[in-house]
């Protein structure tokens, strides 16, 4: 049987404020954002910090959403499912996301993330403007700006990993820290 106390204990130790596993829909994002906004208000977080956390959260969640939307998975496929967690330990917010991606896309995504991680603050600003001004926009409105924006707003390298699942899929996880 599932050890619920084990789950509880891990979440408690990581101070998880909210977590979700499943299909990411627009309605779900609206609810999560509303819940997180009121939690941040209740914690009386500085407006500056609150805005940063909220902004980064929007980008992370919409990344998950667009990813699910763009890839044509059968609706019963487990690969439609994603996981998301947000916690706060010692003045640092941690946003963790995980989702399946097609194995053949790992190299491209890894390349893009490594490219972003090479840039310093000024270079990120220039790169953002370049992609904003010249980049192609996908039909759904994602423009490849999300990850650059997250790196810029957090001022930290993108901490990611790819775990091979089988010959079709890998599990991509992103661990974002926002220091207070």
């Amino acid at each position: 049987m599932l050890d619920i106390y084990d789950f509880y204990d891990k979440m408690e130790r990581n101070n998880i404020m909210l977590s979700f596993k499943g299909d990411i829909t627009s309605e779900l994002l609206t609810s999560i954002l509303q819940i997180m906004e009121s939690k941040l208000d209740n914690m009386q977080e500085e407006p500056k910090v609150k805005k940063k956390v909220y902004n980064v959260l929007v980008e992370c969640l919409q990344n998950l959403y667009h990813h699910m939307d763009e890839v044509d998975y059968p609706s019963t496929d487990r690969s439609r499912s994603a996981i998301f967690m947000i916690g706060k330990v010692d003045n640092q917010y941690n946003i963790i996301t995980g989702n399946y991606i097609r194995a053949e896309n790992v190299t491209i995504l890894k390349g893009r993330l490594d490219e972003i991680n090479k840039l310093d603050k000024e270079q990120l600003k220039e790169y953002y403007k370049e992609v904003l001004n010249n980049g192609e926009m996908s039909q759904k409105g994602g423009g490849g700006l999300g990850m650059i924006d997250i790196a810029r707003k957090t001022g930290q390298k993108l901490d990611y990993s790819f775990m091979p699942v089988d010959n079709k899929y890998a599990f991509f996880s992103l661990n974002i820290k926002i220091a207070n």
């Binding site: 805005k51 902004n55 953002y128 403007k129 904003l132 759904k140 409105g141 423009g143």
Partner: protein, 126 residues
């Protein structure tokens, strides 16, 4: 030309484009998953406005949050304004940001660097 009025929602801003006054305002949050659809009427309205603009156009952008999906659409709106300005009409874009919100100020400066229209950065109290 008709006014363009869109009521704000938790994910989309309040929009007021007024032809008579030459006044345009986008205010609130812009975090929809699909921004292209939301910004389409604004871009279309500006295309019409460009045909017979007022001598002076004032644009107020007062956003609390916006996502990267909106950032491209906002640039499209600004590019329409830039074309109107290039045709010899006066335009000012007022970019509002809350005190201490450096990210929002920087976002305004990014646009200022790309778009050839006078920007005014206006700090408001949080």
């Amino acid at each position: 030309m008709d006014k363009l009025t869109i009521e704000g929602t938790p994910k989309t801003p309040t929009v007021n484009f007024d032809y008579e006054k030459g006044h345009m305002e986008i205010k609130g949050r812009s975090i929809p998953e699909n921004s292209i659809e939301f910004y389409k009427p604004m871009v279309e309205w500006l295309e019409k406005y460009a045909g017979k603009p007022q001598g002076m156009t004032n644009v107020n952008i007062q956003l609390e949050y916006f996502n990267t999906s909106s950032s491209k659409c906002i640039l499209d709106v600004f590019k329409k304004l830039e074309a109107i300005s290039k045709a010899g009409n006066q335009i000012v874009i007022n970019w509002y940001y809350e005190q201490d919100d450096e990210d929002m100020l920087e976002a305004g400066e990014d646009y200022q660097a790309i778009i050839n229209v006078p920007f005014k950065m206006i700090e408001t109290e949080g």
